[in-house]
């Protein structure tokens, strides 16, 4: 029964755009730029925008650019980066969808972005603002520090590896906690990894200053490198020191780059992983199949949306991640704390990712909406330069370019488990601190959920970030 219906459904993907087009063409006759659109109330407009976005994404996914263009135009009348939440979200998603279309003309795409500059200072600033506006990182830091402190109890030589140096506040807090520990502070070494020397320098400066103030024997060891290029030898882990590893919102980037290779080598097998899809493909007439394949190559995604995300294969394919985790395991850290976006943004199909991203970014934008004014510059910055860019990456990019491969906690658990790490439940005291902190935020939408020893930070009921701690399983 089901396959029959599915087939109908999927075939309508190919046939609906035309109807859709005819429908769309009706609208402009009412009057130039759709005056009734303006009169929509916020809620109606929001629903309409969702509808349009999904429609548009379907067109983009199907390679139906004419229709996508029409949908984009419709959206442009409603979306706005400074409007209500859905208007903002829609603005960033259309930008991302458009970017994806544009990428099929690489020349055009490059030309349009030729003057685009990524200013380091701006980037740092926007991360800082993110740190401030949301409690997520702070909660993550508190839990990370607590887990490290507990794991390092009684240790006299402590080495911490920070896979993505970002916020000095995190380690300053740890320094202070360590300096106050009953057995006295340890000799502390922090190895920071970042691709920008300036960031590391600043970090080193702040931390040594603080360590001096607290009279803790301290050493900062900067490593200028991208995470993907990091050589574990560089970390200079010595025997006899207790090792802690910390990664904030960074590990997922290692998931990038594998799939494209795999897919290019063998586009067909990836589609026929499970039987239903095979039969579906076979049932289709030849031209449709051809079209599908063509579109697939153009857009670089697989037409079977659930092949990668739901099959266990998705875990095994990320070679880079696997080898990296293995090398970390080889360092035998006493504790490794990982903070990740808890979203499923690593689906193989555009639609899958778009829908997931809609949900999670809706939640993030809602956080801002309920805590900040609409005119706030910081808010606009975070939305545009952080979320907007992430959305663009999730929607528009494929292969190695697609870095924002956020995955849910259960996948991380699976992955780390198979890399030989055992979960360390976060302590009661850590959670207590985290909860305190959230309560101090004075905003009730934020929640903390405990899931198999790890913590999910949620907005309302939607988990947005996960924090989990690990150690080497012997």
């Amino acid at each position: 029964m089901a396959p029959v219906f599915q087939d109908e459904g999927s075939s309508s993907v190919t046939s609906s755009p035309l109807q859709f087009f005819s429908m769309m063409s009706l609208s402009p006759t009412i009057g130039s730029p759709y005056p009734w659109l303006r009169e929509l109330k916020s809620e109606e407009r929001g629903l309409y925008l969702i509808h349009l976005l999904i429609t548009c994404a379907n067109h983009v996914a199907a390679g139906n650019l004419e229709n996508a263009n029409i949908a984009l135009e419709q959206i442009s009348h409603l979306a706005s980066p400074d409007g209500d939440t859905m208007q903002r979200i829609a603005a960033y998603f259309t930008e991302a969808l458009a970017d994806r279309i544009l990428k099929t003309w690489p020349g055009l795409h490059k030309a349009l972005n030729s003057t685009r500059m990524s200013l380091l200072s701006e980037e740092i600033l926007v991360r800082k603002v993110f740190f401030e506006l949301f409690p997520f990182l702070k909660v993550a830091f508190v839990l990370t520090n607590q887990a490290i402190t507990e794991a390092m109890e009684g240790e006299k030589m402590v080495h911490i590896i920070d896979l993505n140096v970002s916020e000095p506040a995190k380690w300053i807090a740890l320094l202070q906690v360590l300096s106050a520990r009953p057995e006295g502070p340890p000799h502390l070494r922090i190895t920071g990894v970042h691709q920008q020397r300036e960031v590391l320098d600043q970090m080193a400066h702040r931390l040594t200053e603080e360590a001096e103030k607290l009279d803790i024997p301290f050493q900062f060891n900067p490593i200028v490198s991208k995470l993907e290029n990091l050589d574990v030898e560089q970390l200079r882990v010595k025997t006899g020191e207790a090792l802690a590893i910390s990664s904030d919102l960074q590990l997922h980037s290692l998931l990038a780059s594998d799939d494209e290779l795999l897919r290019k080598k063998s586009p067909l097998p990836s589609k026929t992983i499970n039987g239903t899809h095979l039969s579906r493909v076979l049932q289709m007439n030849q031209s449709t199949l051809g079209e599908l394949l063509e579109k697939d190559l153009v857009n670089g995604y697989s037409p079977s949306p659930d092949s990668a995300s739901s099959s266990p294969l998705s875990l095994t394919t990320s070679v880079k991640m696997e080898s990296f985790l293995n090398s970390l395991w080889g360092l035998t850290p006493k504790i490794m704390v990982i903070t990740e976006q808890d979203s499923n943004h690593n689906g193989s199909s555009l639609m899958e990712r778009l829908l997931e991203a809609l949900y999670s970014y809706a939640a993030l934008f809602d956080c801002l909406e309920s805590t900040m004014t609409r005119t706030s510059v910081e808010r606009l910055k975070v939305e545009k330069m952080l979320f907007g860019e992430e959305i663009k990456n999730i929607i528009a990019c494929e292969g190695a370019e697609r870095k924002e491969r956020h995955e849910k906690l259960d996948k991380w658990i699976q992955r780390l488990d198979s890399a030989g790490f055992g979960n360390v439940p976060l302590s009661y005291y850590g959670m207590l601190q985290a909860r305190r902190l959230l309560q101090g935020y004075g905003c009730d939408g934020y929640r903390i959920k405990e899931e198999s020893g790890s913590v999910l930070i949620c907005w309302q009921d939607r988990p947005l970030f996960s924090i989990s701690a690990w150690r080497c399983r012997k």
Binding site: M1, F5, E8, G9, S16, Q19, F20, M23, L26, L40, K41, E43, E44, G46, L47, I50, H51, I54, N58, T85, E132, L133, F141, V142, P168, A169, A173, Q176, V177, A180, P182, P305, M351, A362, A363, F365, D366, E369, S370, T371, M372, T373, E378, Y428, L432, Q433, R435, R436, L437, Q439, G440, Y441, G442, C443, D444, G445, R447, Q460, D461, R462
Partner: protein
């Protein structure tokens, strides 16, 4: 370096004074040579190995001797003394021969002591410490067991005098952060400072933004409130039994009461406070809890969300509504929120909610269940329709919908009643205590963001996977247009919105499609069924009849029964009203 720099101390009083600070800890050895003080800073306190240093005697004591408290024992009474001089004085009491060492004209022999711990820097003679007490303390502190534990804060000390000194001040001191938060314990203060400091600089740069969200990690008084709450809520669970009232000294008299006001929607630890707490909370008018709920209602009806008394009390500029609403987890406040719409519209709709229902509800202490009493079938329908339907008419109380809520609503429109007929009721009840509070919380900002949960409650569609599946099937299966139009509709895919074709035709079409697609009950049909959901939603909210049908049946019948509903409510439909006409 070397001899020259460490040479002077004992010749010439002036130099000695200069060096006194260093002398305190470590009398330096007298050098053989008498080189005049140079400009080199007299900083070096080391006995340089190899330098002729006839007077300083390097003493290495074993840990045992070092730690022996009374090395000098009186042979008569076995009393032990730490110093020989004291023993000698003691012997004098026994009429034993005694001899005090006399200060000779000669400089007394300098002694330096080594730390017995081989890995310690002070094990090296060049870093030997200058007095016995110093080395003892050093050895205990750095290499010894911390036997002395402060009962108040669990901090441990190896040296008793350290512990004594600490004990005198422990708990008496308060650590005040610049942000105004007080701490009784140093470690919590330090943890706080770590974030507060780091953020202070930034808050100076973005004062507004941070203020609006209570930007400090442990923020201003928000945090202290949180702390106080935690402190009192879970005193037994906290290992460090620090007195929670310390944290409560906030300068606002309502401190203890606020606890209840900012009761988290889902108390993390421990049971929710007993109902009588509610009556004492400052927010409610005196003896409020015992009054029929209607009273509060009328109170709030007059000034929705203003809560003046609370404001004065709490000094939480923008947050008063939130804290007020969030207390809903514990009782009536959630009801308040909901009932704002509920009651105010009630006059239009049914107007027969008895105060008793709410009393029952609140007395159970589970605000949620109280919200929608058992006989909600009679009332809830109207309440809902007023929440949604009338929101168009009553613009002033129309909530702004959050994006999450919109997405869920959109998914819902594509969704349908689940196969379990009592789904709606159950979800309402099961989720109410959490959800109601959540909804309340989300609705707090100036712009009254409508929480997703409130929508969920009303729609009764819960399961996220369900929604997800739906969105997916929408997206992957039929064109997304089906979400709003008929799945198989040929030319009315945009009908719901375009307004081009005229409402009547589109409606007829929809119904045809619906009827056609209602036969099956598998995944895809859900999708089509969902169109029914749209129609209902577009029809301006559920009526009581809709609900009942939704609960009891799904299939053709429910749709047919929807028909009259649709027609009758056409005038007030959000979508029809604007989009189609």
């Amino acid at each position: 370096m070397s001899a020259a720099s460490s040479s002077m101390p004992f010749f010439g009083t002036t130099t000695r004074e200069e060096n006194q600070n260093q002398m305190l800890q470590q009398p330096t050895s007298t050098p053989a040579s008498s080189i005049a003080p140079t400009t080199a800073p007299p900083k070096k306190r080391r006995n340089q190995p190899g330098t002729p240093n006839p007077d300083a005697e390097v003493i290495a004591l074993s840990p045992k001797t070092l730690m022996a408290t009374n090395r000098f024992i009186c042979e008569v009474c076995n009393k032990g003394f730490q110093r020989e001089q004291n023993l000698q004085l003691h012997r004098r009491g026994h009429n034993l021969p005694w001899k005090l060492k006399q200060k000779t004209n000669k400089e007394p022999k300098r002694k330096v002591y080594l730390c017995p711990e081989p890995t310690c820097v002070h094990h090296d003679p060049s870093r030997a410490l200058g007095d016995l007490t110093g080395i003892k303390k050093h050895y205990s502190r750095k290499h010894g067991e911390k036997k002395w534990k402060c009962e108040k804060c669990s901090k441990r000390y190896a040296v008793q005098s350290d512990w004594k000194a600490h004990s005198k001040t422990c708990g008496t001191r308060e650590y005040r952060c610049d942000c105004g938060t007080l701490f009784s314990r140093r470690d919590s203060f330090i943890t706080h400072r770590a974030f507060c400091d780091a953020l202070a600089q930034e808050s100076a740069r973005h004062p507004t933004s941070l203020n609006t969200i209570g930007g400090h990690i442990y923020g201003n008084n928000h945090m202290s409130l949180g702390l106080s709450q935690m402190g009192s809520q879970i005193p037994s669970l906290q290992n460090q039994n620090h007195p929670s009232n310390n944290m409560l000294r906030l300068g606002n008299p309502g401190g203890p009461k606020l606890e209840h006001l900012i009761q988290p929607s889902n108390p993390p630890y421990g049971a929710p406070p007993p109902p009588q707490h509610l009556s004492s909370s400052a927010f409610y008018l005196p003896d409020a809890a015992n009054q029929p709920f209607q009273d509060h209602q009328s109170h709030h009806h007059g000034i929705p969300f203003s809560n003046k008394p609370l404001q004065g009390l709490m000094q939480l500029p923008d947050l008063q509504t939130s804290s007020n609403n969030s207390s809903g987890g514990a009782g009536p406040a959630a009801a308040n929120l909901f009932n704002l719409g509920f009651f105010s519209n009630n006059s239009n709709a049914t107007g027969s909610i008895s105060p008793d229902q709410f009393n029952d509800g609140t007395n159970t202490g589970q605000g949620g269940t109280g919200l929608f009493p058992n006989n909600m079938g009679d009332h809830i329908g109207s309440g809902m329709s007023s929440l949604f339907g009338n929101s168009v008419q009553h613009e002033n109380i129309a909530p702004h919908m959050s994006a999450t809520a919109l997405l869920q609503k959109a998914a819902q429109m594509g969704s349908t009643t689940s196969n379990e007929s009592s789904n709606l009721l159950r979800t309402l009840r099961a989720s109410s205590s959490n959800r109601a509070a959540a909804a309340a919380a989300a609705a707090k900002s100036d712009r009254q963001v409508m929480s997703p949960n409130s929508i969920q409650n009303i729609g009764g569609v819960e399961n996220e996977n369900h929604l997800q599946g739906l969105m997916n099937s929408l997206a992957n299966g039929t064109s997304a247009a089906s979400m709003f139009g008929g799945g198989q509709g040929q030319d009315n895919t945009f009908g719901g919105f375009s307004g081009g074709g005229g409402g009547g035709v589109a409606e007829a079409k929809l119904h045809q499609n619906l009827a056609a697609s209602f036969g099956g009950s598998d995944k895809l049909t859900l999708d089509f069924l969902g169109v029914g959901g749209i129609v209902r939603n577009m029809g301006g909210g559920y009526s009581q009849r809709d609900l009942q049908h939704q609960q009891q049946q799904h299939g053709m019948t429910s749709m047919t029964s929807l028909d009259p509903q649709l027609k009758s409510t056409q005038g007030s439909q959000p979508f029809r009203g604007t989009a189609l006409q």
